[in-house]
C-alpha cells in the first residue's frame, strides 16, 4: 500500500472520509426518490457539489457520543457533518417525512433537530441565528473550562444578516472557541454573492472582527480537513473565533422546486468536473490509498444503507393530530380547541 498518506490520515480514515461523502450523496438521492413517491412533504435541499465541505470539516473535529465532544450547528446543506457527528440515516428520513418517531416528533423538518449527547444543534430557518446560538454554546465551554470547540455553518446570504454580525462580534469579543464555516456556494437562493456583499472573499470580513480566517477549495475534502484542523487548533489554543470559507458551487437549485434557470448551464457543467466525490475517488485510486473495488463497495453499501433506513422510516406512523398541543411549555397545558370535543363547550377554551 501507499506510504504517501496525506494530512496525517491513514487508509482506514481516508476510507471513512470517502464513505461519509457517499452516505451524504446517497441519502440526498434517496430523498429525491422519496419525494417523487410523495413521502417527503416539505422542502428538499441538496448539497450536490458541497459534500466535501461538510464532511471534511466535521472529520477534523472531536466527535463523541457522551456530550463531551466538539459541537456542531449545520445547515440543511451540511447533512454530511451531521452524519459524521452520529446523526442516523433513519432519523434523517423520519425528519423529512415528519414521522411520529422523528427526533422532533414531526414538529420540525429536515436537519432541524438536536442531539446534545452526540453534539449537534440543528438550524432554524431565520438565517444567521445559529451564529448567535453557537456564540453562547461555545461561551459555555469557556465558562466551564471545557476543552471543546463549536462549528457553525451558514451560507453566502446569511453573512448579510444582523444576527451573523452580532453573533460573530459577541463570539470574537469573548474569544469563544467557535469556527464559522461559510458555505460560499455563490448563490443565496437566486441571488449571486455580488448581491449580498462587495467583498471578493468572505475572509475579507474577518479583520473587521479581529479573528483568523482562511479560504479553502470546498470541493477538496483533504484540503477542507486540513484547514479546519488548523482552525480548530487555533480555537482550542485560546485564539478564539475562526472563520473558514468553503469555495465551491451549488450545482442544483436552492431547493427541488427551484429549476435554477438563472444560472448559465455551462457554469454548472464546469463545476461538475470538480465533483468532490469523483475527484476524491480518482485521488484515492491514483495514490493507492484504496482500490477501485473498495470504493465501489463503499458507494453501494451507502446506497443500500439509505434504502434500508428509508424503508424503515416509511413504515413508521405519522404523529397523532391532538399531540400538537404537547410541549409548548414544560409545565403549562395548552388547551385543545373547544370545538373538537364531543359536545362543544367554550368554557374549555
Amino acid at each position: 500500500m501507499s506510504d504517501s498518506f496525506p494530512a496525517g490520515l491513514d487508509g482506514e480514515r481516508l476510507k471513512g472520509l470517502y464513505r461519509a461523502l457517499c452516505i451524504t450523496r446517497a441519502a440526498e438521492e434517496r430523498l429525491e426518490i422519496l419525494q417523487k413517491q410523495g413521502h417527503v412533504t416539505g422542502g428538499l435541499y441538496r448539497s450536490l457539489g458541497q459534500e466535501a465541505g461538510s464532511v471534511g470539516a466535521a472529520f477534523a473535529l472531536r466527535r463523541e457520543s457522551d456530550g463531551t465532544g466538539d459541537f456542531l450547528a449545520p445547515t440543511v446543506r451540511a447533512a454530511g457533518a451531521m452524519f459524521l457527528f452520529g446523526a442516523t440515516l433513519v432519523d434523517f428520513f423520519r425528519q423529512y417525512m415528519a414521522r411520529e418517531t422523528s427526533p422532533t416528533r414531526g414538529r420540525e423538518a429536515n436537519v432541524h433537530w438536536v442531539d446534545y449527547q452526540k453534539g449537534f444543534v440543528g438550524p432554524v430557518s431565520p438565517l444567521g441565528t445559529m451564529v448567535e446560538i453557537m456564540a453562547g454554546v461555545t461561551l459555555s465551554f469557556s465558562l466551564r473550562g471545557e476543552d471543546r470547540v463549536g462549528m457553525v455553518f451558514y451560507g453566502d446570504g446569511a453573512s448579510s444578516t444582523g444576527a451573523w454580525h452580532e453573533g460573530l462580534n459577541f463570539a470574537a469579543v469573548q474569544r469563544c472557541p467557535l469556527i464559522l464555516m461559510v458555505e460560499a456556494n455563490q448563490y443565496a437562493f437566486s441571488s449571486p454573492t455580488a448581491k449580498n456583499t462587495r467583498v471578493q472573499s468572505f475572509t475579507e470580513k474577518a479583520p473587521g472582527y479581529g479573528i483568523g480566517a482562511e479560504s479553502v477549495d470546498g470541493t477538496d475534502v483533504i484540503a477542507v480537513y486540513e484547514a479546519v484542523s488548523r482552525a480548530a487548533e487555533r480555537a482550542r489554543g485560546g485564539l478564539g473565533t475562526q472563520l473558514i470559507e468553503l469555495k465551491y458551487f451549488r450545482r442544483l437549485g436552492h431547493a427541488q422546486h427551484d429549476s435554477q434557470e438563472y444560472v448559465d448551464p455551462a457554469l454548472i457543467a464546469e463545476w461538475e468536473k470538480k465533483d468532490p466525490i469523483a475527484c476524491f475517488h480518482r485521488r484515492m485510486v491514483d495514490n493507492g490509498w484504496a482500490t477501485e473495488q473498495e470504493l465501489e463497495t463503499l458507494w453501494h453499501e451507502s446506497e443500500e444503507d439509505c434504502r434500508v433506513a428509508a424503508e424503515q422510516a416509511i413504515a413508521e406512523p405519522v404523529p397523532h393530530g391532538p399531540d400538537a398541543v404537547d410541549d409548548v411549555y414544560t409545565d403549562v397545558t395548552t388547551p385543545h380547541p373547544w370545538t373538537r370535543g364531543v359536545s362543544p363547550d367554550p368554557r374549555l377554551a
Binding site: S125, T129, L139, L143, G162, F170, T330, R347
Partner: protein
Amino acid sequence: MEQPTPEYLQKTRRGEPVTLLEAISEGLFEEMSSDERVFLLGEDIGTYGGAFKVTRGFLEHFGDRRVIDTPIAEGGFTGAAAGAAHMGLRPVVEMQFMDFISPAYDVITNYIATSLYRGAGPMPLVIRGPVGGGNRGGPFHSQNVEMAFFHTPGLKIVYPSTPYDAKGLIKSAIRDDNPVIFEEHKGLYRAPALREVLPDEDYVVPIGKANTVREGKDLTVVTYGAMVHKSVEAAELLEKEDGLSVEVIDLRTLLPLDDDAIIESVKKTGKVLVVHEDTRTGGIAGEIAIRISEKAFEWLDGPILRVTAIDSPVPYSGSLEDYFLPQTSDVVKAARYLAGY
C-alpha cells in the same frame, strides 16, 4: 477572588425594608449564590452595575465570567444566552431598557420560544429589564413590551408590583425551565411607599398566579404593574366617597394568565374593569374580555370596560405623558360608570 456580600444587599438579612429594585437585586444575588449555573449578560451591568444599578457589586463578587458586559447588540447576546441555556446554564439577560428588546424579537419568538416544542430542549432563560412610563423618558425609555410577546406560545411574562412579589417572582423565573420575560416598572423601582420588610428566608412566588390585593363585592378591577397601586388608590376613594366595594386583582403573571382568579372574581361581582398602562389596541384587556365572555358570560351585569394608555407613542413632555397615561381619576370615573349598571 470573591468579595463578601455588599452591605446594601443584606437589608433583608438585617430586617430592614427594601425597595422593589433592591428586592430584585437580592433575588438575583441569592440565585447566583446558590446556583453556579446562573449568570448575567447585558449592557453595562458589570463595571457600571447596570443603568439602574440592579447589579451593583455583582461583578466584584461573582467575577467577569458570570457578569458579562456585552456589546450593544440585544439580538446577539440574547441568542448567545439561548446557546448557553442549551448547554445547561441558566442565563439572565438584562435589557438596559425593555424598549430595546425589539432587536432580539426574532431570536426570542422564533428560536427561544419554540425550543422545547422543536425538541431542542427546555430554555431556562430570563430576560429582564425596566419598563413603563411616568419618568419623562420619551418614546424609547418608557414602553411596556408585554403585548409584543403575549402572542408567542412558549414564553412566560411576569410583571410584579411589589418588592415581595418581585423577589419571589425573579427567583421563580430563574428556576423556571421555560423562557420568562420579566418586566420591572421604573416608577416602582425606588418608590418609597412600596418599601417593605421581606422574609429573611428563601421564598418564591409562583408564576401563573394572580393575587387579590383588595377584596370587594361590587366590581372587579383586573390590573398589573404600576396600575395596581393607582387602582387600589381609586378603590379606597370609591369606598369612602361612593360606598363602593371594589375588588382589585394584581395579575402578577400575564402569560400564562390566571383565568381562575379572574373568573372567580367575576362570579362574585358581575362587573369588570381592566386597567393597564400599556396602550389600548391589542392590549391585554381584549384577551381578558374574551376569556370572561367564554367562561362567565352569564355572570356579567355590565359591559367589560378598560382604562389604558392612549394609542400613541409615549410622549416626552410631562403634560403630554400625564395625559397619555391612565390616572387614578380615570379608574374612578370608569368604576363609577360601570357601577351604574
